[in-house]
């Protein structure tokens, strides 16, 4: 079973970090296939970038969906998720939705803790040197933020959000008093859960594949998919 780990950011170091965090929880039959965006921004942190990155994610899936069994969109805002779920036949899982649904199974209130103010409820304020190293650079501050989420917001569960924090949960779990969800680990397990049910592609409802439609100026793979020239 081939599972695409699609990083819609253009930073390869972030893809490496996501893969390293994901590998320990993948089942024996799961082959993770990392892929980094070649177009877009270094790390997505606002609405405009999520809009652009979501379109890029759909383009990337148009190129690769025939080679894989499922895909993870590995950025916390799940850019392009619902469009991808509609357009392609394979299951597509977002890292944020996976983390939040998993958190719900571990308590009732969960808090999202992150490093970038635009993404979250509890976030750090200051600037940082490098998005791919922010987990190490800010570990102590993030832990402090997590403690405040537990005590002030009465969180039963924590989600550490944003691709740059992938893998941090395992490091800090013993220093926090509630369960911590690693977003990319949650996504891998949720994608496996969905695949185990062998769900069929909807042919009715709002997630059926759209009818063919003329396009112009789009990438060839995406145009073929939208125009139904890839059947």
């Amino acid at each position: 079973m081939r599972m695409l780990l699609l990083n819609p950011n253009t930073t390869t170091a972030m893809t490496d970090r996501l893969l390293a965090a994901a590998l320990p929880v993948a089942s024996p039959g799961t082959k993770l296939v990392p892929l980094t965006a070649t177009r877009g921004v270094a790390y997505i942190s606002n609405r405009a970038e999520a809009q652009i990155a979501g379109a890029v994610a759909i383009e990337m899936l148009a190129e690769h969906h025939h080679e894989i069994d499922a895909a993870i969109i590995a950025a916390f805002g799940d850019p392009g998720l619902f469009g991808a779920r509609e357009l392609f036949d394979i299951p597509v899982i977002g890292m944020a939705e996976a983390a939040m649904h998993t958190a719900c199974l571990l308590g009732r209130r969960f808090a999202i803790v992150t490093f970038a103010p635009a993404l979250a409820i509890r976030s750090l304020d200051g600037s940082f040197r490098s998005a791919s190293d922010v987990a190490e650079e800010k570990e102590a501050l993030l832990l402090e933020l997590a403690q405040r989420a537990i005590h002030d917001d009465r969180a039963d569960v924590l989600v550490l959000a944003g691709a740059p924090l992938a893998g941090l949960a395992a490091k800090v779990r013993d220093r926090l008093s509630v369960p911590v969800v690693d977003q990319v680990q949650a996504a891998v397990k949720q994608a496996e859960a969905v695949l185990a049910l062998r769900p069929r592609k909807a042919t009715s409802g709002s997630f059926r594949r759209p009818a063919p439609k003329p396009t112009s100026g789009l990438g060839e793979a995406l145009a073929r998919r939208i125009e139904h020239r890839d059947d």
Copy 2:
């Protein structure tokens, strides 16, 4: 990894059906341990019975939680779930919550289809011969109900609910036009997902273990757990 499949109904045939549906999706490392309630009703279908069965489920967990790594409460209303999650150190997953969270990853609107009016949105009306055979007895009617949920309620995903319908999803999936979630399969995969994250037992927040407290008249294992005599 031992996963308790706790049926809070007293019908063994239903436990067998749940186990049969669950086995095909369990990972190699997952050992399913079936257990049937010895006290309660033949099948839970209303609030009073869920209240009673939830207390029975907690008693059963008090007797077995030391022998297992996770537990599934295998009745669709998830009787006793939050109490169990609070009182015990292992992850406890409900069949309804697992099915619904999984359904959310396959679309946006899901419909719950079942055979018992008190449980659900779309349900059959008439009586039936035997709860454990209702899936076969009413298969055609249930499919018709599912079609109505898809078209009239615009469901993107279906959940077939109630322990007696365990395993039905696999049989009917090719006759329905949207993905179908099997509740006990979803529960097994969600329990595996949660275990993969190696979550710690909360020591703060609303799911930490309650402080010790005197009891009277409760079963020995449950009394020991509540009074902290089992540490």
Copy 3:
């Protein structure tokens, strides 16, 4: 008119306190019948205990419902309330729902103030010597908490919650600047209100009595009620 004051905690002193608070508001025709659980925990303060106590409350009602005209479940979480309302023909009123509906008639925002963190919005943190004397022991702290609810949470009305605080409202009402609802007094008056309407037992809808069903291992009175052997 006989009104059961059912304390699902096992502490008789708490039943005495509830009765003492309730008596001054009972109408001339209302005879309050106190009853203390003989099985369970000394005072309910979390989800697991509420699950167990709710089943105990239903057992107790199965034994006594033929002798009474209405029942109050006199613990703030209303354990077993909806199941009881479904299973029995008499009105059953929960102390929490009664207090909250009454509070709504006295303002728009109400705050719940209590002594146990797991129950409420504003609660004391520290431990206490005895649940049945906590109202006296912590009176000053509770008043301070109430003031914070009024000023910081902009409460128009206060509910003092938890059986151990029954009767406290009357003592402190002149020291607070908004109306205060005593939970057990509210429950007695709401039960009288409902009885005055002479409501029929539903024979359709989700609160009709469930159809007969086989049971095993349940108390005799409860088994008779569920199996319809008590008609």
Copy 4:
């Protein structure tokens, strides 16, 4: 204890009907004092009329609040309720809020059935001869509507709404399969419930009496109340 039954409609026959329905449930200590608006419309059935009638109700309360212990605003939309609760020191109860809170204690879903389309969820469509006799004129149609609310809307409880239907619940209760709430009976019992708690007038929060303020052109009693010349 004197309880004002304030009919903000100008139809005396409706006040008589309300009083007749209310009397059987009033406690021995409750003296009902009927009062009919002398200014306004024959029966309130839309937003403009409710706005006007609410101001009239406040004027009427300004004239009578010193002579009574509590007041019921006896029109289903509760015109002027929150303003009255703020401006006067006595409890003021609306017929709609009382009916709905009471209905919540008898089930979970309630339906509102009435004769005037602008008021409600399920209402008759045609015209009628006289608002004060509509209950008799349309009894059969209203019963049919109630049945549809029970079966199609899955109502656990019914509220028969609108002053002209006061007293109808008692007549039809045996022909319906769920409990029926009479709005004015509910209001009397809820006013008694609130009075039993001896609630103090808020001196903080959003229902404290407003500070004095100059007025012009208002009725003398109302002007005195707003300007604090009545202390």
Copy 5:
């Protein structure tokens, strides 16, 4: 196009202030017609006064609606708005709804900042000398409050609420870091927007003109309108 600027407060200085703030944004074809209530309170700041003022606003519209093309109810709580929209054939716009809908087009979270505690989320506490000069008297404090709304409540947009603050937005816009909505300017532009669509008066739905009905004791123009004697 004649647009009534109806001030339901009795303070002429406030009407002048509203008109002065509104004039700069009115389109060339818009003629603003100011009108001050001759009956009521100096400035509306609670529910009782809003109830009374809403009825006064409807009376005033009954006298003037034939001479105008649209009306603005120029008090922040929009007293009488829905009743007026129902009873008259011209568009009627409330200052609060206009400000809030406009704010939604400038961001996602808006904060309401005002000088009177009963009206708003963020408000000043102390007393003030004169409602019509409060904007100048309290400008510094209001700015400080606005800053707190931006930083603590994470507001994307500010609404300065209450007729006495009309015109303040223009003065302080350069000292605040998010867009500021002037309520009366928003109302003028929204009334123009609605008029541009040339909307027909509803003849069905809940805003159609109510059927004729007898009245007593109401002002002549209002009685004529309700009784349909003005056609």
Copy 6:
């Protein structure tokens, strides 16, 4: 004042239709500047296409925002709206949000009627010959749908949604019994309303311009904007 009418579909005939509908309501000072996407799909009707079109809209705005005072994103799903509002300094208004906020000022419940099932509450089912002529081709069916929305859904106001229906409101308004909102007319008037307030670009809050960030593979104008090379 130059207002961009940005059609994110690639169909020029649709832009012409939008412009024709918009012109009659534009104020004298408003100069409408039509612009058609050169990349994307002929008409957007699902999530995947909206994701792509939103990114295209942002690219187009990056190229033109310096030449205009405000922009309308003229497709009913408002693709790219929030990203655009964040990234650029001019007001950006979506056709759907404008239509819905305007509808709120004309009643309380509005219904959205359209020709494409994926977009809306009430939509036609069958296929159609040409998106740009669907308004004429299906006029009778759309009117029938609108009538059902009024009567069955109790709509006070109708929004005719989807760029191909621009201008239809004016044609059918006299055949419908409630006000009808034309989406592009609403957008023009709302953009004028916002501009009249002369709102400043947020420099704090979630709509401030994002900090500069490296990009790769994006169009030159968009890259310059994101990297802050355009200041």
